[in-house]
Amino acid sequence: MIETVDQSDARGTSSQKRKREVVYVSAPLDLRDAPETFHTSAPPRLRWWRRPLLRLLYVPAIIAGMGITIGHLLKNLILLRQPTISFPEIKPFIPKRFRSRHRLMQKDDGSVRCTACMCCATACPSGCIYIVAHEVEDPEVEKAPRVFDIDGLKCVYCGFCVEACPCDAIRMDTGVYPEAEIKRGNFVWNMDKLMHDIPDNLPE
């Protein structure tokens, strides 16, 4: 475990190779066997006369770095090549399959297409969908949601609810992503908001 190493000078090529005896201990298994003082494998320090003077002063490196920064500044100031966009005024491009805020689909008569089967709430990994069902008169379906809340702060936008829905009642294609609110309660979207507070011209 204890080995004695001849450590030559850091530059190796110098004619005077000073031999120092350094005791290296990689991992003392038994501390009783370890010597009282031991060196960890720190890199050998260059003596000050061996260090390049210019590097000691840092000046060329500083000037090079300042060139880089002023280059960025001039590029941005004159050529206007900033990747940043002014967000609220300019919206970023949102791809078609981006999973954005949910919407609930409607039937032709305007009532909600959801049948309160609870598939989405079951599939939801974060438990953000809260449904209360009630019976409806419609002969086609047994029941419909009376309350359909999604907590936007819990939602992880995984899209499992969309996959799970058997009747294509919930979709995540609005292109809306939640903006800032001043109350947490405002992030709980109710059925009305999910059905009607959506952009126009979305696919049916």
């Binding site: 000046v59 880089i68 920064t69 500044l73 941005n76 940043t84």
Partner: protein, 427 residues
């Protein structure tokens, strides 16, 4: 009467110059660092009603409102009196030093000649050193009075740094003093109007390159700017003003910026000819006043035109619609600050070309030209302070001390000895 007016106006003018530099530098800092980092920077704060944003300049106002209306909090264990006095001391020490910096050559109006600086004294650099050395009190007292051990350590650290670099600061200037044979800043500026080998202006930076580098680094350390901003180092090391908030913190902040502006002015005065326009001494400026005025107005016209075009390009690039108030503001600003001044300058140009200047007007023109040259240089060095901050990483504390005592002090001594030897050989 005139004397009294001059006596009041000179300090006020100088004070106004350096106080105006504060918001400009803060704006430089914000917008400059944003552009260096490929960001847009602040552009949200606006004046309600007017909708003016001024490309982030209004953020200064917003900051002032925020800092002034904040709770004036004093920690429970703080030493009340010192806690309140420390930021004032910091600001006062920074503000005392502007007094001896000349803005232009002596101006002759009729039969009266007066120096264009706040206090007409020949103490020069010594005055600046004496009062900037008092700035340490602000740091040390803030650290002590906060009644908390981390600011105390920060204060000790900052004090040690400032004391250490004051030595290098003084040493690096001694070479300049040796060469020019005076400590009066106005005299130093005047000597720098001569030519070296008939080609290069006799600026301090050409005569004392090593001294200039040392002074620059020491000035960074002295004003606690990056890369020597251990005193602040908000992210990894606790500084002396951790316990400060509100107006008191604002005073520290402004004190730092004033100190920076004054250091920039001192660098310009010592090493870059001060108010000297290269190759144009004051007498030549006065003799050719009308040409100077033409060139000045032309430069203003071209600069304003470029500025206006830049503003318009910015707003086109921003892709904002006409209904957006920012678009309107951009166009209004481009007209007000860009095309308007350009046209006015061109009109003035035609007037100047058709008339002869007489009386003391040429002297005033020369002074204005020199003042503009001085301002441009000072603004550039203010920018250098910011530029370096957003380029270099912060030094570790032991590296700061190493650099101060083991690199800069010996280099400064060597520079002094070599300068003295060369001076002996030449004379």
């Amino acid at each position: 009467m005139t004397e009294a007016l001059v006596l009041i106006l000179r300090p006020l003018g100088a004070l106004g110059f350096f106080m105006t530099l504060i918001p400009i530098m803060i704006w430089f800092e914000r917008k400059g660092c944003a552009f260096i980092q490929d960001r847009v920077g602040p552009n949200r704060a606006f004046i309600p009603g007017l909708g003016l944003r001024l490309a982030g300049f209004v953020h200064n106002l917003a900051d002032v409102v925020k800092l002034v209306t904040k709770e004036d909090f004093i920690p429970a264990f703080a030493h009340r009196g010192l806690y309140i006095a420390a930021p004032m001391l910091s600001m006062a020490a920074a503000l005392l030093t502007y007094a001896v910096i000349p803005f232009a050559d002596d101006l002759t109006l009729g039969s009266v000649t007066f120096a264009l600086r706040a206090v007409d004294t020949d103490l020069g650099i010594l005055f600046i050193f004496a009062f900037s050395s008092l700035a340490v009190y602000g740091v040390v007292l803030a650290g002590y009075a906060s009644g908390s051990k981390y600011p105390l350590l920060g204060g000790i650290r900052g004090t040690a740094q400032m004391i250490s670099y004051e030595v290098s600061l003084g040493l690096s200037v001694m070479g300049i003093v040796l060469i020019f044979g005076t400590v009066d800043l106005n005299e130093i500026c005047r000597v720098q109007g001569q030519l070296l080998f008939g080609v290069v202006p006799k600026w301090g930076v050409f005569l004392q390159p090593v001294g200039f580098m040392l002074y620059l680094f020491a000035a960074f350390a002295e004003t606690n700017r990056s890369p020597f901003d251990m005193v602040e180092g908000e992210s990894e090391i606790v500084g002396f003003h951790t316990e400060y908030s509100g107006t008191k913190f604002a005073l520290f902040f402004m004190g730092e910026y004033v100190a920076m502006a004054i250091q920039a002015a001192v660098i310009v005065t010592l090493f870059f000819g001060g108010w000297q326009i290269p190759w144009l001494p004051t007498s030549a400026l006065i003799e050719n006043a009308s040409q100077v005025l033409v060139v000045l107005l032309g430069a203003i016209a071209v600069g304003a035109l470029g500025f206006g075009v830049l503003l318009l390009r910015f707003h086109r690039w921003n892709k904002v619609r006409w209904q957006d108030e920012r678009k309107r503001e951009g166009i209004i600003l481009a007209i007000l600050l860009g095309f308007g001044p350009a046209i006015t300058a061109l009109l003035g140009l035609t007037i100047v070309l058709s008339t002869d200047l007489s009386g003391s007007v040429p002297n005033v023109v020369a002074s204005v030209a020199q003042f503009l040259a001085f301002s441009v240089k000072v603004l550039f060095f203010c920018w250098v302070f910011i530029w370096v901050r957003w380029t270099l990483p912060r030094f570790r504390y032991d590296q700061v001390m190493f650099l101060g005592w083991k690199v800069m002090l010996p280099l400064g001594l060597l520079n002094l000895v070599v300068t003295a030897g060369l001076r002996l050989l030449w004379l």
